[in-house]
Symmetry: C2
Subunit: 338 residues, 2 copies
DNA sequence: ATGAAAGCGCTAACAA
DNA sequence: TTGTTAGCGCTTTCAT
């Protein structure tokens, strides 16, 4: 059975294909009755618009490309969920791919997105991405690019982020206020703003309160499954253990928390702990984790809204601007000493 | 700047567009030197193949459509991660959309996928989906459909699942072996095989061991955020509390576990608990949750592999067949009494 | 091994 | 308000 085309509808009704096309697309200046007839006929013939033809003609795919480090993390899947909801509502499709934290794969994915002619690109960078070259083709071709979460400062790209410096600062300040003197910061690649800025916030708070701050205070990890184990080893190598730890990831914080308790530390008594993300896991581990609430769903929604309003010409957000979402400290028992 | 097309390359080299197209696609029977020249010129001109034109002509999009209930759940994001990896490796794009557990939205999404001319559809059903009508168009048009996780038995669709009956049976049997007599089963919509089969397994074990089984033993929930609270209320309304609970979802199990402890129950002493999925949360809640390991990533990989080999004509898997992945009971402290 | 030519289905500029 | 017409860029049949 051949697919019905607008020509079939046109022939069927004795009108032109152009009129059919216009009617189907709700063009203004088309006779209401004609429109009605066309829609009926379309239904009767089981007509389905051919996106390829339309995209080829319009040079527009109604598809947004999304590149994330991983699909299956709490924050990322929340962001994607928000993105999908808004995109779907606005009639856009989402092509999603993951870099698995590898620059190599991120570059490859970007190329695929480019070839797939996505109308816009939404991207959160891999751990080790250094180059910007894979983004340049989009900019050159004026395809809007929005960075979210793990961003890069570029004059022609919008970013959607939280205030990582503030959060790093506040989490640390909170620990200090609870009486911690020797605080550890467990974080990811400084290549990425999220970790770099949180560390800057950490340092700022430490210095403000005249506490020792040096490389010794920072542990780097890739947040894989062995991360808690590795953190424990580093701690046991220290002459005096810390009395506070600020993790930039709840899952790692929770895992380490369990190991610390097993090793005989009381939490928050001996070591107070702060995590990051407000992952559901933070409300399950005992004691419940003090953490920074990360507005993932919202971030996804805003990122897509921004890019769509850009695509549709409502330039209420300038290129190169940054949207900073509200994030905040949620105090729970893992750090409450007073 | 205009995009370079195969015509530009053709003109540039004084050959025909047809030859360029063939060279670019690695057609057999093209002069090796010609091919080389073409590839060089393509690179030099910054040529990017136009997928719309190609898809329009070939009636094939190299895109797989995926519909899931939600993007942001542990199992689903794991499955999607596996799918993306394999699809990406094989040169396919993934268009992902979520039904948010609504049949209405699932139908809408299916239509979008259909119009987007996906080469195949991968779908896991919403809580309340009853109709099959939104799938029929794909079958009629011979677009392969693979169901995963929440499936539907249909002669022309492949399914990828775990043995939910077995898991329901084994989880229950385990509780019985630990001495439980009055066991509750907390589960989702019986519309869906995953819950229906687990319940059947539950019932089978209960009957096998001559324990009371009736509607009283089953609590239904949509597994939203209030689920643990609701379960607690149901329990407190009971004249005698249960001594074992089998949840078909770890997050809900963990949440309820916390509430139970707060209410003074000892776990597993008073109430033994088994969850489902082997969500990371199961290793954090105290006591650690006995659960059923769900091979999410693997399921995603297999589902996409199956569909791609189907698309490429390697029909090593028959239509209508079912792939059952290995899942298994993981015993931890939440149920260990002996 | 290569070329000529037709057409996939749609949209938009222009004309009426 | 509607129709005519010319492509969008690619693949493929048929011919050479």
């Amino acid at each position: 059975m051949k697919e019905a085309t607008i020509y079939d509808i046109a022939r069927h009704l004795g009108i032109s294909a152009a009129t059919v096309s216009r009617a189907l697309n709700g063009h203004p200046g088309i006779n209401a009755q004609t429109a009605e007839k066309v829609n009926k006929a379309a239904l009767a013939l089981g007509y389905q618009s051919n996106k390829f033809a339309s995209s080829l003609r319009k040079q527009k795919s109604n598809t947004l490309g999304v590149i994330v480090p991983r699909l299956n993390s709490y924050v990322m899947s929340s962001i994607l969920s928000g993105m999908e909801r808004v995109a779907n509502e606005s009639g856009y499709n989402l092509i999603i791919s993951q870099s698995l934290e590898l620059e190599r794969k991120e570059i490859e994915n970007a190329r695929t997105m480019f070839n797939s002619r996505v109308d816009a690109l939404l991207i959160s960078l891999a751990f080790d991405t250094e180059t910007f070259d894979h983004i340049t083709p989009f900019i050159k071709k004026k395809i809007p690019v929005v960075f979210f979460d793990r961003v890069l400062d570029h004059p022609s790209c919008t970013s959607v982020v939280i205030d990582n410096f503030k959060d790093g600062y506040e989490g640390t300040k909170h620990l200090i206020e609870q009486g911690c003197k020797k605080i550890l910061h467990v974080t990811g690649s400084l290549q990425r703003n999220v970790y770099k800025d949180r560390l800057r916030g950490f340092e700022a708070a430490m210095r403000e309160y005249h506490l020792d701050f040096s490389d010794e205070n920072v542990i780097f990890t890739s947040f894989d499954n062995d991360a808690p184990q590795n953190v424990m080893e580093k701690i046991s190598e220290m002459t005096t253990p810390p009395d506070g730890i600020f993790f930039t990831n709840d899952a790692c914080a929770a895992g380490t928390c369990i190991l610390l308790k097993k090793a005989g530390y009381s939490i928050p008594g001996d070591i107070a702990i702060v995590g990051f993300n407000n992952d559901p896991i933070s409300k399950v581990v005992e004691p419940n984790l003090t953490t920074i609430h990360y507005p993932g769903i919202e971030m996804g929604e805003i990122a897509v809204q921004t890019i769509i309003s850009h695509l549709e010409g409502n330039l209420n957000v300038n290129q190169g601007s940054t949207v900073v979402l509200r994030s905040e400290l949620v105090v729970r028992d893992s750090s409450r000493r007073i």
